[in-house]
Symmetry: C2
Subunit: 349 residues, 2 copies
């Protein structure tokens, strides 16, 4: 089959690789219907994290089950399934505590894990899914092709934006600022509105993304950054800062922006992978009672809650996909996201 | 009158200073019935924070109102009052948000603030209290002398321990570990039990404090620190760490202990003033979805909630005072706490 392999910074290739086979009794083989490129895939693409040897890449996909191991009970051949960006059993104590990204038996796509050998990356034609009963979520009934982008968003970005909002404790009537206008930041706006926030400030400098942010529920746009941006947030929020700030980038600058845009006693929900840092400055947090909560989003547990709203059209996270390419053009997909010509690229095998 | 002045590290003197006088219409003059020495007073005492010029010290006291300004409405001459460790109006947006330590118009004891000049330190015979209506809490009815320690604990340590528990989100059935066996840590145990925690682990190496911790509700004692201590906490909590960890020290080591003792998805509530740092390590927080919340405890807002339980005897935070001295022996009080001969010293003018 064909699958995407990263060889080095800016060297993405679609190559012929071995077809996946059932390895454990708990596996499924999924034919990928759609995959996509994640903002975190850009770290190795840009060379921020080194690529020491060629490896498969991609961790977001939806597809149709083609085969299952003899122990699989909740997933059947022919099912349309959503895969979260990691593997989990959904039964261990950490999964039951809502932190399936810390599953005691889980793993990651594209890794040679303990669970029967290599788990393919998502940007390919097929994937071996270990712990299929825990990992995969079945979408009931016929799935229309127009539904695919929204369902694919549940594999990562929509659940991750939702996790930022949940971690920050967003509730009815809150003022919320969102730092980052990538796919996760835009989904965080959807999540904040869905959870009842009355003021939603999108911090964005890009006209096209500002427009989508407004469609998703942003009530204000702040294009400025640094102290000017913080002042703008304070002016919108009665002089004190936002109740909840959702950090959806992961850089030192964005986390600083988030912390200083939060009102005393407020909370930062953060989901942007902090690449190699930064450390959190404790004094500005302590002195103003600003909390920090979040991390690698346990999206598996959120799919059940969010899926009905996606299917009903109440929320439309699939709109973050503003470019669709065939899998063979994966390199072009990376370039488009790297150069910010696309918010998020959907790949069709 | 007589009041305590710090001149330099380990140089505490009780001196004759000017009597306080009403300065603004919102002031009260309070005759101090009891004051105490705070763990944070030990930072300048030990020279960790420099004392550049002699200044008054102390920020915890209870007393009787001797005079009020013409604008004071909620406090009257003769009232027994509790003062939190800071001044606040209790009406601004930050106070209404529950963060009165960030009061837009507040200030600190022993400081020459905007509110009518010098606000005396608490370790003296009398104190001018600015913003008396917002700052002071009246204790209704006659106050027995045996009630004084418990009421005095509400000026800081009981509310601060409670803030650690509230910030960490302690609720019924939770497992809670408390890092720090000073007065605040011991009060955090009281708070965790009061909020319904079912497992309470006191991390303490001191037999006398372990005993008090058990009396306050600790179900387990862990004397070890570092990795051994973390393993001990995990063994008590099903292998994963405590749901909530209350950091009541403020050192780099104690915060590290707290973060690594928390289960994935859990929360650290921290109230130990981080003296000059440390920065928080973001990766161990992000990867395991461990949140950090807390800060300078807004105890003013907690007094109303905690006072009935103190008066009824349901909680007995006054037991943290294990040494009582006359005000003239303030220097001995500091030495006793510095050398950990006393948990907390009560001073009577």
């Amino acid at each position: 089959m064909r699958a995407t392999v990263i060889h080095a910074a800016r060297d993405i290739r679609v190559e012929t690789v071995p077809d996946p086979v059932l390895s454990t009794g708990g596996d499924a083989i999924v034919r990928v219907v759609a995959a996509c490129v994640c903002g975190s895939d850009l770290w190795p693409y840009r060379g921020v994290t080194p690529t020491r040897a060629p490896h498969r890449i991609g961790h977001e996909f939806v597809g149709v089950v083609e085969a299952v191991g003899e122990g699989v009970q909740h997933v059947a051949v022919g099912d349309f399934v959503i895969a979260p960006f990691y593997v989990c059993d959904n039964t261990c104590i950490n999964c039951r505590n809502g932190v399936s990204t810390s599953c005691l038996h889980g793993g990651w796509w594209g890794a040679d894990d303990r669970l029967g050998g290599f788990a393919d990356g998502g940007q390919g034609e097929r994937v071996r899914v270990p712990l299929a009963d825990g990992t995969l979520v079945v979408v009931p009934g016929p799935v229309g092709d127009d539904e695919v982008p929204g369902l694919l968003a549940l594999s990562d970005v929509m659940g991750t934006g939702h996790h930022a909002a949940v971690s920050a404790g967003v509730g009815p009537g809150d003022s919320v600022a969102v730092v980052g206008d990538g796919a996760v930041g835009l989904c965080a706006i959807i999540a904040a509105r869905r959870l009842g926030a009355s003021t939603i400030i999108a911090m964005s400098r890009h006209p096209q993304r500002q427009e989508l942010a407004r469609d998703f529920g942003a009530t204000h746009i702040v294009a400025e950054r640094g102290n000017v941006g913080i002042t703008a947030v304070q002016e919108i929020t009665g002089g004190i800062g936002a109740d909840r700030v959702l950090e959806c980038v992961g850089s030192k600058e964005s986390m600083d922006q988030a912390i200083r845009s939060t009102r005393p006693g407020g909370m930062v929900g953060y989901v942007g992978a902090p690449n190699g840092g930064p450390e959190l400055p404790v004094r500005p947090l302590f002195n103003r009672n600003v909390g920090v909560n979040g991390g690698v989003a346990p999206v598996r547990g959120y799919i059940d809650e969010l899926l009905p709203d996606v299917r009903s059209g109440a929320i439309a996270p699939g709109r973050v996909f503003d470019l669709e390419l065939p899998l063979r053009d994966a390199a072009a997909a990376y370039a488009a996201m790297d150069e910010r010509r696309a918010i998020k690229v959907l790949l069709r095998p």
